[in-house]
């Protein structure tokens, strides 16, 4: 009973602080009103009914304010605050007249508030849009959290705190969805919430089918949110996703059909069960966070970068003055330190722990192993390892493929394992760690390992490898990344279609990373993915060609040499080569490829940079090495994003832009035999720019 009183108190406080534009507070008011309406059901009819109807009427009004459906929002808000005071008075008088026997609440809670309307189609008007976009993001976080908790629940099914946390996630989604008129999501959340409510009261154990149902709801919710996001983007109406209707029915059936299994003594202790809820209402993690739009963050990083550049320019300007002025010198270095710290800090803001991605893998292993009839334990190490947000987002899909492969191909069925003297339960270890500026993700299983003979046979069969070719074991393993090569004996719906691993390789390479495989037959395999910490920064070698400066990714640079006449040779008088430590490497002149004037043309006066990319090696001819620098990669702007041989731009210490070379792209460019002559490229533009050459 106190809770009803408390609720009106909270409502009154929220109303005082409300503003027509403050959606968060309005949402809170709406929530309070809803809870008051619910709580009032426990009162006797003559007292409860008026409270219920006033609460629900006011809730509707709040909803209208949010939806901009009222002519004068301020006036409506005043009415809300008046109703809040009335409610408080009514509750007070109801309390003083003594508690009345509570009505059974359970029955009414199970039935959805607006039932038998089926699933209503959802229309989203323009004003709701930004609200919905926010909602999708928030709801995703809730769904993820719920999923994590659910998996925890599998290990300790009686943990009430966990059930509460899941319940709250669904409850929040339901609340906001109701607000935004998202019927499908609201109903699904409601149905799941009802089931969870039962579990929370201890009347049902969240295990077996009930747990599967909730997990299914989590998945369905993810789908619905994706659908919603898509339809918002397209500006259309969210379509009905038919499976959700069936799922809601099943949830309801489960609740109504004799699923209520009172767990022994818990029936008597129904009241204390409510206690943990309030206790848990505070945020689960102690760390407070603020959500920031990514473009704001990027712009902050840009500005801090500029600050560092501006500082170094000023430092150069005053360099002469600082000698006689220790105070100025001290202040300058202090300023520089602050600027650099700021830069580090702002870069660190883009970093997020990989835990979210790993979480998905736990779920994946659970589902796949069940489907394949295997027993697999997933051990996750280093989930707090932080990396760039973009990398985290992009690494998910490749990881899913690889883990799925490990479950399906790697780990043997339990009986086979027993026969081979291994424990029944297979083990997959997923490990993330930092290693010298890279992030390393290892996926190791204790399964049967890769069968190199069979991979080779398959590759020869489908023509990837010529029959007589001699390959090292590492080379054979790499074949599994070739499209169309699957070593699974039978095709299942989990894997074995021979697509996947080639996509994995492509995805990882697009993140500037690479995959290595080690495997021992009968013992298991380890896939090691190496990725740069962030996509935003690389270590670069700054080189000069004519008056232009270019940046070569240091990872690809092997060595630099000033060739002697004896080292240089050529074919047909054109194709140049240089003998570096006994190997003949092709020499590509950057000034020729990029059509740069005033560059050194005699190799013995120039520098050759030996670069390697994907087992291809060559020399780039440049005029001079200017030094190493850690640079922030920037896009060259929409129109220039796909220039061959160029990966992006970077702003150097003097504030000018320098181009970052895409080593593989430059090699392709050189091999294609196209020089950098502009006239050729703009050839298709001739009717318009007849005298372009002269203009250039």
């Amino acid at each position: 009973m106190t809770s009803l009183f408390d609720l009106t108190e909270q409502l009154a406080i929220a109303v005082v602080g409300a503003d027509t534009a403050d959606l968060v507070t309005l949402a809170a008011i709406f929530d309070h009103l809803e809870s008051i309406g619910k709580a009032a059901q426990t009162l006797a009819d003559e007292q409860g009914r008026p409270i219920q109807s006033l609460a629900s009427g006011t809730a509707t009004l709040v909803q209208q304010i949010v939806m901009n459906e009222v002519p004068d929002a301020e006036e409506s808000l005043r009415r809300v605050s008046q109703s809040a005071m009335d409610l408080q008075r009514m509750v007070e008088s109801a309390m003083s007249s003594g508690p009345t026997p509570p009505r059974p609440a359970a029955a009414s809670e199970i039935a959805p508030a607006t039932d038998d309307g089926g699933i209503v189609e959802i229309g989203c008007n323009a004003e709701d849009r930004s609200l919905v976009v926010d909602f999708v993001e928030e709801a995703r976080a809730h769904v993820d959290a719920a999923e994590a908790e659910l998996l925890k629940l599998e290990e300790e099914p009686d943990n009430l705190e966990t059930v509460n946390a899941i319940f709250r996630s669904f409850h929040t989604i339901k609340g906001v969805a109701g607000f935004l008129n998202l019927a499908q999501i609201g109903k699904l959340a409601h149905a799941a919430e009802s089931l969870l409510d039962r579990a929370r009261e201890g009347k049902l154990q969240l295990a077996g089918r009930a747990l599967d149902l909730v997990l299914e709801s989590v998945d369905a919710m993810t789908r619905l949110l994706a659908l919603l996001e898509e339809s918002i983007k397209l500006g259309g109406v969210m379509p009905i996703w038919p499976p959700v209707i069936g799922l809601i029915e099943r949830l309801k059936d489960y609740l109504h059909g004799g699923a209520t299994r009172p767990v022994g003594a818990t029936t008597e202790t129904a009241a204390p069960a409510a206690a943990p809820v309030t206790e848990l209402a505070k945020p689960a993690s102690g760390e407070q966070t603020v959500k920031v739009a990514t473009d704001r963050l990027d712009s902050l990083i840009n500005h801090v970068g500029e600050l560092v550049i501006a500082h170094s320019m000023v430092a150069q300007d005053v360099a002469g003055l600082t000698r006689g002025n220790p105070r100025l010198a001290g202040n300058m270095s202090h300023l520089g330190k602050i600027a650099r710290e700021l830069q580090e800090l702002s870069m660190a803001m883009r970093m997020v722990p990989i835990a979210g991605v790993f979480q998905k893998m736990v779920r994946l292993v659970r589902d796949v192993s069940r489907k394949a009839g295997k027993e697999i334990e997933l051990v996750v190490v280093g989930k707090e390892t932080e990396l760039d947000r973009n990398v985290v987002e992009a690494i998910g899909d490749p990881l899913i493929h690889m883990i799925r492969n490990a479950c399906d191909h790697g780990i043997e069925p339990p009986d086979v394992r027993m026969k081979n003297g291994k424990p029944r339960q297979g083990r997959i270890e997923l490990k993330a760690s930092h290693q010298s500026g890279n992030i390393v993700i290892e996926i190791s299983d204790d399964g049967k390992g890769l069968d190199s003979a069979r991979i080779l046979k398959k590759a020869i069969d489908n023509g990837t490898v010529a029959a007589g070719q001699q390959l090292s074991e590492a080379e054979i393993f790499k074949l599994i990344f070739t499209a169309g090569l699957s070593t699974a004996e039978k095709v299942t719906d989990i894997s074995g279609r021979g697509v996947g691993m080639d996509v994995v390789k492509k995805n990882i390479e697009s993140l500037r990373g690479r995959v290595d495989i080690t495997s021992t037959p009968g013992k298991g395999s380890t896939f090691t993915i190496r990725l740069p910490l962030t996509l935003a920064v690389i270590d670069g070698l700054v080189v000069r060609v004519g008056r232009q400066r270019y940046i070569l990714p240091l990872l690809s640079v092997e060595q630099n040499i000033r060739p002697t006449v004896g080292q240089m040779s050529s074919v047909n008088g054109r194709a140049e080569m240089c003998t570096v430590r006994g190997t003949c490497l092709p020499v590509y002149r950057l000034h020729r490829l990029f059509n740069v004037a005033d560059a050194a043309t005699d190799p013995t006066n120039a520098i050759l940079v030996v670069v390697q990319e994907n087992d291809r090696r060559c020399c780039f001819m440049v005029d001079e090495l200017l030094g190493q620098e850690q640079v922030v990669i920037k896009s060259l702007g929409e129109g220039l994003s796909k220039v061959q041989g160029i990966n992006g731009g970077a702003i150097l210490g003097d504030g000018n832009v320098s181009l970052i070379l895409d080593i593989a792209g430059v090699m392709d460019l050189a091999l294609s035999g196209v020089s950098g002559e502009r006239s050729e490229i703009s050839g298709m533009f001739t009717s318009f720019t007849a005298d372009e050459k002269t203009a250039a």
Partner: protein, 182 residues
């Protein structure tokens, strides 16, 4: 090759040009290329900056002059003279870069435009704006929003979305084709 070019034009966001044709009247930033006066819708102009050193980007059309650092952001700069196939002139003190902004798929794209001289901001009412007549095929009129007749002369009002998005199409589609042509 020429087919590609003509088919490229409709690619440039038709919605943007439709919207602008209904409300052509308004404020324009006018600038000069030689003796000709051009106008740019003021809402599309982000800022005007003086000349600065550029970094050339290889293998791009001649009208792409290079990229510059605009407060930490790298943006491409287009030489409007080259773009319109007008003869190049030496840079003067008045040469400057207009940073224009357009929106494409929800993202704001900034591009610098090199012009001979920036003149003034003019309010051109809709009734003073005429459709551009059809010229001989060597002159492209699809960049032209209309002709503003105000005061002494004619201001050529540019549909900057068209000017810029055609540049995109050229860069993205042009390169692979240039390869096969070589």
């Amino acid at each position: 090759m020429n087919r590609t070019e003509s088919s490229a034009a409709p690619l440039s966001s038709p919605s943007a040009s439709n919207a602008s044709s209904t409300s052509k009247g308004g404020k324009y930033l006018t600038f000069a290329l030689g003796a000709e006066e051009y106008g740019l819708q003021i809402l599309k102009v982000r800022e005007i900056i003086g000349w600065m050193e550029m970094t050339a980007v290889p293998r791009t059309p001649a009208f792409v002059n290079g990229v510059i650092n605009l407060r930490g952001q790298v943006i491409p700069v287009i030489d409007l003279r080259a773009k319109f196939a007008m003869p190049a002139i030496p840079r003067t003190e008045q040469t400057c870069i207009i940073v224009a902004e357009m929106e494409q798929a929800g993202r704001r794209i900034q591009t610098g435009l090199i012009v001979d001289r920036v003149s003034e901001v003019l309010n051109i009412p809709a009734e003073s704006i005429e459709e551009a007549p059809t010229f001989d095929p060597s002159v492209r009129s699809d960049f032209i929003l209309g002709l503003g007749k105000i005061g002494r002369g004619v201001k050529i009002l540019l549909d900057i979305d068209r000017v810029l998005s055609t540049a995109d199409v050229i860069v993205l589609d042009g390169l692979p084709k240039a390869k096969s042509a070589a």
